[in-house]
């Protein structure tokens, strides 16, 4: 008999396999959960991997303090509905007591690394699931599914373990941990097709809504407590949606009328810009901005 497994089913099975390997081989895994679509899909896959039992992992949110309220509400509702344990590492606490200093550009994404590493050490997490996808960015394209981090949380792209077949090597020494990327082989379009197929709820900001925005560096930034127009930047009411959800001060919206997963699928398939290119100021800093952040221990 011949049987063909479709693309989405193949991706789903690969991700579920990864979750089960980690559950079996690590003692204290944790899922990085921001309330963004990739982490939501990741949690959905983890739930499928262990049904009818619950997810045997805690969640960790590295909170920049610059949040969309819809996303925090979604996070808390999900945690409550599923009875999950949520740990929050707060960038604001680090700024308040001087361990971190606010950057001149006001962006807090790069500041997440230290609270993240402290949380990993403090809770002795040995496997940390991230929703990073290889199609997102050039440095992420080089990432393993199981990616070893040393005591300093550093990634050494020139010295990664070979990763063969579906034999994932999670061996690590005390103090080291492994970042695990179950969505490595998913594209943005796969994620949206899957959200549509599975009927997964997302925070409302992923769909078209009216918002006061101003334009900066070719991106539409929301007017809010963390991002105010500068001289010469004019505010207008536009119909927009968010393609990625991150720190409010550096995540841009896109003009869009897509109000359902099916409409987003059509929009993403026709897009002329990549997800990060359209929406993330922090990746525009240099040729290798993401690589530099990842080397230091970023997601």
């Amino acid at each position: 008999m011949t049987a063909t497994v479709t693309e989405l089913d193949a991706l789903e099975s690969e991700s579920i396999f990864v979750f089960r390997e980690v559950a079996a081989e690590f003692e204290r895994p944790v899922i990085l959960f921001s309330g963004g679509k990739d982490s939501i899909v990741m949690l959905h896959l983890a739930r499928k991997a262990f049904a009818p039992a619950g997810v045997p992992f805690a969640l960790l949110h590295v909170d920049t303090g610059h949040n969309f309220s819809e996303v925090l509400d979604y996070r808390d509702a999900t945690v409550n509905a599923l009875g999950l344990r949520l740990e929050v590492a707060r960038v604001e606490e680090y700024i308040a007591d001087g361990r971190l200093r606010e950057r001149s550009d006001g962006t807090r994404n790069p500041l997440q690394t230290v609270p993240l590493l402290d949380a990993i050490n403090g809770h002795r997490f040995d496997a940390v699931f991230g929703g990073g996808r290889r199609d997102e960015e050039r440095a992420r394209a080089k990432e393993r599914i199981f990616s070893l981090r040393d005591e300093f949380g550093q990634w050494d792209p020139r010295n990664q373990r070979p990763e063969l077949w579906s034999l994932y090597n999670g061996k690590h020494r005390p103090g080291e941990h492994v970042r695990v990327f179950p969505l490595s082989n998913w594209t943005e379009l796969d994620v949206w097709n899957y959200i549509e197929r599975e009927g997964i709820d997302l925070p409302s900001i992923y769909y078209a809504h009216e918002r006061d925005v101003f334009e900066r560096d070719g991106m539409l930034l929301a007017v809010g407590p963390y991002s105010q127009p500068r001289d010469g930047e004019t505010v207008s009411k536009r119909v927009v949606r968010y393609r990625t959800v991150g720190d409010m001060s550096c995540t841009g919206a896109v003009a869009s009328t897509a109000s359902s997963p099916a409409e987003v699928v059509v929009e993403v398939a026709a897009s002329e810009l990549t997800e990060r290119g359209a929406t993330r100021a922090d990746d525009r800093v240099s040729e290798a901005a993401m690589e530099d952040r990842k080397r230091e221990g970023y997601f």
């Binding site: 008999m1 011949t2 049987a3 063909t4 497994v5 693309e7 089913d9 193949a10 789903e12 099975s13 690969e14 579920i16 396999f17 089960r20 390997e21 559950a23 079996a24 739930r47 499928k48 991997a49 049904a51 009818p52 039992a53 619950g54 999900t78 509905a81 599923l82 290889r134 199609d135 960015e137 050039r138 440095a139 394209a141 080089k142 070893l148 792209p157 020139r158 070979p162 990763e163 063969l164 077949w165 579906s166 034999l167 090597n169 061996k171 690590h172 020494r173 490595s184 082989n185 599975e198 709820d201 002329e272 810009l273 990549t274 290119g277 359209a278 040729e287 290798a288 690589e291 530099d292």
Partner: protein
């Protein structure tokens, strides 16, 4: 419904591999405006023309040195299917990355510079593709524009490669004259190679079949993790999770659980049913190779991670000794007597290398005597293992036939292993 094809590239330094990948993505319209703008800016800043390699070479050191260091994964789709491309580096020191990329590939594209012909690296890449049993090998004879689109040059290289492929037992090598820089025969047919009437690279990729139909082989189901919810609704539930490695599994099928060797049957196969607030399972009648499922057994047996559920009429038995071919991926050499860890399906156990029976000589493609193995060597070894493994020869099952050797001290992955046929010879 579209299916996925996994491909890997291999070539020597300066064969133009990253350029080919960039060209393939570009001509498939898989490169978006901001990526093109980025490459334009960087290319101009360096005072050069649009450099396709910059589309894939993402690391700082790669851009500085103009080489590819690690496997980069790329994703693109045509109207016919979706592709996952593992772009592997050409440098000898990064051969381990070629092995990595080829281990999951349905197609490997080996590049040869038309001006240089077959090199030692070409032989190495062909050997890796043959050993890992990649179903299709495409030979891209690149820079054909630099030899004046000379048919004789192309034919000679194709013949040389076919000779090597024959020796290695690789059945299917498709040679294509291409220029990645200009775009000849990558996606669009070249007007310069009228003597070539075969398919373009993309046509080969769109029409390639995947791995042999592993669903037609006997059932192998390595147990990953045991689910016991112990909730009111699922008080006595005991589900064995895993991904079907080969064959199909259906409710009622008689099976044997190894290594214990106990007979039982499949009582149920469950699929998850997950809503925003509830987590449950529903029954499904069967599952095929590649699907991640949960099975329940008719009898209450001792089944744990490392157990393998197999077809009752086609049990492979278990073994504590293996003869295998290994690709040595570490700069720490292997010597006889080494104590290592072996990771095979869902079992990790101690192993001792009892014998090194030979190494592949890339010049003659024969096996020569060896007392140790160094980085990038392909050798034959015998292993004694502390736990019984449920294993098949790699030639009949790439999942139950493959393993890793791991350094017990620091966890480093030292080797990729493929279990030999009973008769012994894989090389």
């Amino acid at each position: 419904m579209s299916t996925l094809l996994r491909l890997a590239t291999a070539g020597s330094v300066d064969d133009g591999k990253s350029t080919l990948v960039g060209r393939l993505l570009h001509d498939c319209k898989a490169i978006l405006a901001d990526q093109i703008a980025h490459v334009k800016t960087v290319s101009q800043a360096r005072g050069g023309d649009f450099d396709f390699a910059l589309l894939t070479d993402g690391l700082r050191a790669e851009r500085e040195q103009g080489i590819t260091i690690d496997v980069a994964y790329r994703y693109f789709a045509t109207d016919k299917r979706s592709f996952i491309l593992a772009d592997c580096p050409g440098h000898v020191q990064y051969t381990r990355n070629t092995v990595t990329g080829a281990s999951t590939a349905d197609v490997v594209i080996i590049l040869v510079d038309a001006r240089h012909g077959v090199l030692e690296q070409t032989r190495r890449h062909l050997a890796v593709a043959g050993l890992l049993r990649v179903p299709h090998v495409v030979l891209a004879v690149n820079k054909i524009d630099l030899v004046g689109y000379d048919e004789a040059v192309f034919t000679k290289i194709a013949e040389d490669v076919n000779e090597v492929a024959d020796q290695l037992g690789i059945a299917d090598v498709k040679a294509i004259p291409v220029s990645a820089l200009v775009g000849d025969n990558v996606v669009d047919r070249s007007a310069q190679t009228s003597w070539y009437d075969g398919p373009t690279l993309l046509e080969v990729l769109e029409n390639a079949t995947g791995r042999d139909d592993i669903s037609a082989r006997p059932l192998r189901f390595p147990v990953q993790y045991v689910i016991r919810p112990q909730t009111d609704e699922y008080r006595d539930y005991r589900g064995y999770t895993g991904t079907v490695a080969s064959g199909t599994v259906a409710v009622g099928d008689p099976v044997i659980v190894l290594p214990a060797g106990r007979r039982t049957s499949i009582a149920g196969i469950d699929r998850p049913v997950v809503t925003a607030t509830s987590t449950a399972v529903a029954e499904r009648p069967s599952a095929v190779a590649g699907e991640a499922v949960t099975v329940r057994l008719a009898d209450d047996l001792d089944v744990a991670r490392g157990s393998v559920i197999v077809a009752a009429d086609a049990s492979p038995g278990t073994r504590r000794e293996l003869a295998a071919t290994v690709c040595w991926l570490s700069d720490r050499p292997l010597t006889v007597g080494a104590r290592l860890l072996i990771k095979h399906t869902t079992t990790t156990a101690q192993a001792i290398v009892t014998k090194i029976t030979g190494a592949l000589d890339l010049d003659t493609l024969g096996v020569i005597d060896a007392t140790g193995l160094d980085l990038n060597d392909i050798g034959k070894v015998q292993l004694k293992i502390a736990a019984p493994l449920t294993a098949d020869p790699y030639s009949s099952n790439t999942i139950t036939g493959s393993f890793l050797l791991i350094d017990a001290h620091d966890g480093w992955t030292l080797a990729a292993g493929m279990i030999d046929d009973e008769e012994g010879e894989l090389l």
